[in-house]
Amino acid sequence: MTAVAFALGVLVVVQLRTQAGGAAFAGLSSQDLTVLVANLNARNDQLRAEVATLDSELATLGSNQQRGDASIDELRADLRRVRLYAGMDPATGPGLSIVVRGPIDGPGVEDLVNELRNAGAEAIAIDGVRLVPGVVAIGGRGAVTLANEALDDPFEVVAIGAPDKLTGSLTRSGGLIAQLAATQPEVVVEVTPTDDLLVPGTNRDLIPTDGRPRL
């Protein structure tokens, strides 16, 4: 009886102490725990290094992507600029609307266009046909063709540029309209400065087939 009571007291205390340990690692000895902690520390250091590597990789990719986006924006802007200049895309802006009535000849039309270009016209169309290299007005009086299509009478030339400069170059004394009046008096040219013109893009293929880029 006394021995039983003694043993019971001992067991109660041991049980109380053991339960205070808890957790999953309770079954491990202190030596095992020390090794486990060291392993966990080493492994976590490796994982932290990997996180750092991936972090910097992501940052590099991010800045590359931003640079890429910037260069794509630049490429797009450059493409718009060059296509606009080449006459491949429709253009809008201020300029002149010029209505020509009467039997003008091809060189008369070309003189008019040349004068507009000289005065800084940036985009020109005649009756909806964008003037690009290769599109020329040829033929005698009243029989002008533009890119192989007969030109109407009257026809309209629209030219984007500084309206005052374009008007001045055509209407100045000794200017193109004065010259036309002298050489082709039955031709009437009517010039109207306009704030907002639309010049269509060309439908011609401007890539040469008889030549190739020279490197």
Partner: protein, 264 residues
């Protein structure tokens, strides 16, 4: 005798001793547990170690989660980059075509070279001396006739003809783009192999020869080298007044649509 009768039969001194021994056993066990260096080591150091191990385990779980998350994000950025590389290739290809169309790329190919020189003939009495010189109008006529005959690129004395090129007289010289040119004028035209035949069959060109060469002695000659080189336009392509207009097709496309039949 029942169990109760048996307990009642135990003398009270034995009960007192039993309770005292139980208390003693408890005390001895408590003492043993709290005493001795080895016992203290295993009981007091184990708990922080377990705690540390638990914390490290939790950190490891978090680090692994971060790694998986980062790999996912890197993967999606890389996919985006592959897409934008394709966009860049496409844009560069469109830009190259636009530059060729705008005259910003030097070209080589079949074609002819025409040369226009001032007249050597004496100026007839009462005639205009300027008629004996090659003028801007002569050059423009030749350029127009070349376009009509199927030329695809033209340059005069190294100046490329572009959509904005004007050819005008400035005294005895000729202004083309921003260059002052003087005779002799070499007009290089890239075009089909029969460009000269087409040109010389054109009434406009025949008229020019009659009006300028036969009447005033303007000298016109031509050459058909194996290949001709047309230089790139070196001026600005930035427009000040013209802006892109909304296109019905919704913006630049790689193709220019159907090409017009060549003039001439």
């Amino acid at each position: 005798m029942t169990a109760i009768e048996r307990i009642r039969a135990i003398p009270s001194w034995q009960v007192t001793l039993g309770v005292a021994l139980l208390g003693l056993g408890f005390l001895v066990a408590a003492q043993l547990a709290s005493e001795g260096p080895r016992v203290r080591y295993t009981t007091q150091e184990r708990s922080p170690l377990v705690e540390t191990a638990t914390q490290l385990q939790a950190q490891q779980e978090e680090l692994k989660r971060q790694i998986l998350d980062l790999r996912t994000r890197i993967g999606s950025v890389e996919q985006g980059e592959a897409g934008s590389a394709a966009v860049v290739r496409d844009l560069n290809s469109q830009l190259q075509d636009a530059r060729i169309a705008a005259g910003l790329i030097p070209l080589t190919g079949t074609g002819i070279v025409l040369q226009l020189e001032d007249s050597m003939e004496p100026v007839k009495q009462g005639a205009n001396a300027a008629d004996y010189l090659v003028g801007a109008r002569d050059l423009r006529t030749v350029i127009e006739e070349l376009w009509s005959a199927g030329a695809e690129a033209i340059a005069v004395n190294g100046e490329r003809i572009t959509p904005s090129s004007a050819v005008i007289d400035i005294g005895p010289s000729i202004l083309l783009n921003s260059a002052y040119l003087s005779a002799p004028y070499q007009i290089t035209a890239l075009g089909p192999k029969d460009l000269y035949q087409r040109l010389s069959a054109s009434p406009g060109f025949v008229d020019l020869i009659r009006a300028r060469a036969q009447s005033f002695g303007i000298r016109v000659s031509f050459a058909e080298p194996a290949s001709v080189d047309v230089p790139a336009f070196a001026g600005t392509v930035t427009l000040r007044y013209a802006r892109p207009a909304p296109s019905p097709s919704g913006g630049p496309s790689p193709s220019n649509g159907p090409s017009a039949s060549p003039a001439g």
